[in-house]
Symmetry: C2
Subunit: 469 residues, 2 copies
């Protein structure tokens, strides 16, 4: 077991404040864990003897076996005593979901928890959080009912959130967006375990190939930067930081009590630790789902292959706005394509195959671009709505992708008829984007992480993806 692993892979969990009352926090946690967690589960409730058909104990000290981890969902004034008991029991980690601490000014009450945790060497996540969702181990302390929240498919993106509500939203939203999630952690007031600890842990977690952060304010900046800097050499970290403006910073201070601080300081910290910043949460996961594939470009030249000229133009714009450059196709590539394409197809980058392109023309184009040395990454635009491009083009593209080690991003959008074809590409391992700007932003993330990894030898440029228009 590595550090913090008892939170994510415990053999046994005690739920302190477990309940049979439908809708209560203690009920939802018990329900989720009963359904998802394969290990031992011990409900703790001072009144009940049986909860969810399991023997319930008055105190965690009454549990006859060892307890790895406890979830605490009781009123704030009683949490300290309970934590003391957890310490005596030898519990390694405690997730305190209860609110009612520093976020409402009860600083002393919170300090008491810190004191007890140090005395016993217990690690704490929270208080005032929704805790942990682990899609692999089944640990789920998120007290949102499955009657209202859908959970996402298994995947390799982990998300750390200072906001509990936002973490809940992301779980539900990623389920709809078919984004694969490994772990979601909401760490609330972070009196002990903070972003840095979690980054250190996820760095060694095989199922976390990308780390996404939602941050309102960071307290121990140096420690955070050290962890991030170490991690990003291998595992990309993406951050959405709010409280950027005066209005936002003011709102953040009354939300999590965070001092958002000068945004420039964060900007510089992110830059130094090679964290890629997202402008919004759609972008955060747009970038994450490209990075999750772990296929990185070795050249910073981007090629665009399209059957829709307008979308090619917009993509070229979006790439340049992200500080990226269009690949210079070699003379060899250009001549080869000129030979094989009809005269009305002007060989260039964006490579516009024009409106009557069929899948054969795509095949020729895609293969040639993949072979071109200056092409590090390809954005393939598929306007599947046109008559000549058959929906089985997906199979062709997946075939070509299997024999290539360059990242391919798909730009495709449309209605009900087109969607199954895009889903097939997605299931085949390609990231799909609905707009030029979102695909370009994913390309930006891939190229930037490749630079940090040393796969591309170029200076990393900070860019926000939108220039003044």
């Amino acid at each position: 077991m590595t550090d913090l692993d008892f939170f994510f892979n415990p053999s046994s969990i005690a739920v302190i404040g477990a309940s049979d009352n439908v809708g209560s926090v203690g009920y939802e946690i018990m329900k989720n864990l009963t359904e998802d967690f394969p290990g031992e589960l011990y409900p703790i409730n001072i009144k009940k003897k049986l909860i969810f058909g399991k023997s319930s104990y008055k105190s965690i000290l009454d549990v006859p076996n060892h307890v790895d981890m406890a979830v605490v969902a009781i009123a704030a004034p009683y949490v300290a005593d309970i934590l003391e008991e957890c310490g005596k029991k030898g519990v390694k980690g405690v997730v305190i979901v209860s609110g009612g601490f520093s976020e409402i000014g009860e600083k002393e009450r919170e300090d008491k928890l810190v004191e007890i945790s140090k005395k016993y060497g217990i690690r704490i996540i929270g208080p005032n959080c929704i805790g942990i969702y682990d899609n692999f181990s089944g640990v789920n302390t998120i007290f949102l009912s499955k009657d209202k929240v859908s959970y996402p498919q298994k995947g390799n993106i982990s998300f750390l959130s200072q906001s509990g509500a936002f973490a809940g939203l992301i779980l539900d939203w990623t389920s709809k967006e078919r984004i694969g999630i490994s772990k979601v952690v909401s760490y609330g007031n972070k009196i002990d375990v903070n972003e840095a600890d979690l980054i250190d842990y996820l760095y060694n977690d095989e199922t976390s190939k990308v780390i996404c952060l939602y941050i309102e304010g960071i307290r121990r900046g140096r420690r955070f930067m050290e962890s991030a800097k170490k991690a990003t050499k291998r595992v990309p970290i993406l951050a959405l930081k709010s409280g950027k403006t005066k209005s936002g910073a003011k709102a953040a201070s009354s939300h999590t009590g965070s001092l958002a601080g000068e945004d420039k300081i964060y900007e510089s910290a992110f830059k130094q630790s090679h964290i890629i910043r997202a402008n919004n949460f759609e972008e955060l996961f747009d970038m994450a789902k490209a990075l999750e594939k772990q296929v990185y470009p070795t050249s910073d030249g981007v090629a665009i292959l399209t059957n829709a000229g307008g979308l090619g133009v917009m993509t070229a714009d979006a790439l340049e706005m992200n500080g990226l450059r269009l690949a210079n196709l070699s003379e060899y590539t250009v001549n080869k394509l000129k030979e094989q394409f009809p005269e009305r197809v002007v060989v260039s980058n964006p490579m516009d195959l024009v409106g009557d392109a069929d899948k054969e023309r795509y095949e020729i184009g895609l293969k040639a671009l993949l072979e071109d040395q200056d092409v590090g990454l390809i954005i393939v635009i598929l306007l599947l709505q046109v008559p000549t491009l058959s929906l089985d083009s997906a199979d062709l593209i997946l075939d070509i992708k299997r024999n290539s080690n360059k990242p391919i991003l798909i730009l495709g959008a449309g209605g009900e008829i087109i969607t199954p074809c895009l889903r097939k590409l997605e299931k085949g391992g390609l990231a799909i984007y609905p707009s030029p700007e979102r695909a370009a932003r994913a390309a930006y993330a891939l190229i930037n992480h490749a630079i940090v990894r040393g796969d591309i030898h170029r200076e990393r440029k900070e860019n926000i993806g939108v220039c003044k228009i």
Copy 2:
């Protein structure tokens, strides 16, 4: 009939190049018109006598009745002769979908068409376009098969596109996004009818309450600005202009032959004619669907009502980045809310109702904000995933909305379980946004158009919605 109305509301249409060959352009146009257009339809084909069960004519001159409008889908070299015949027949408008003119360097061939159109006073849309889709009259010259493209629901947004392929994508995409469309026009090489003519026409069209543009380059700038300036006093115009960067401008010039020109010139032209610029097509329609409701703010103060603090912070950020300001709640509003809310709810803007808010707390909050004089517009954030906020909150919000004349934007996202509730709000007439940034951008559009209309007395600030981070 006003100018150009024969294109959108013709009594009769001739399809020149009509065909029975499945998949051909002439087939798709006939198929779409047969299904959608209730007026007289005359197939013209030099070989066939019967097409789609209708009598077919060798020449439009053989049609025994008057023909209002013709669609031409034959090889480029023959288009001039056909246009001559249309002139003799007294056809008022011709949509030339055929390509093979200036876009491939055949400038003389194109000039010949201009000459003929002037001789007979025929108006031309195209060539090299996909023409017209009118969701009300049933005119549909878009040769994309319904086997691949879904068409959008009826609504009050009209879209003018220099790119045909992009117009097709938007039809299909808006169908999935439940965006209501009145007309889509792809005008291609615009040898006669251009953006300005179409804006003039849509200005007087009762079903077009918002005009969206996709532009690569404009030739007659002054004429365009005059039309836009006149229209925007009443009908908002939104523009997505590509070719903003060097890479994009180069790509545009080989796509539609457009000289994208200095982006600054467009920026200034849009500003002077009160056109609101979009950064991407999602944003274009995000803004359009808010403007379509025709409910405008009379104050530029924005209020945020939320049960998710983090989303409140992000929304505050996004508003400020759009040059918008948070409303200053009056003492009266603040005191009233303090009286009614539990102590842990800090009355402020963003008004964070905190995680355990139920629909009653939303009711109190929303009504108070609607009554506050400085509040011009409200963004209601619904984290429906939490246990206390029931899904029937939609009914409550719709009830309150019916008795108010201030715009309300809903920020809500999630998975399968939440979605029906968001759909209900949408059907009830509210625009729904999946992220803070997209909701804020819609607020920007509403406030900007209200300033142009004179509903808000403030100077209009240009803003792109994203500042340097």
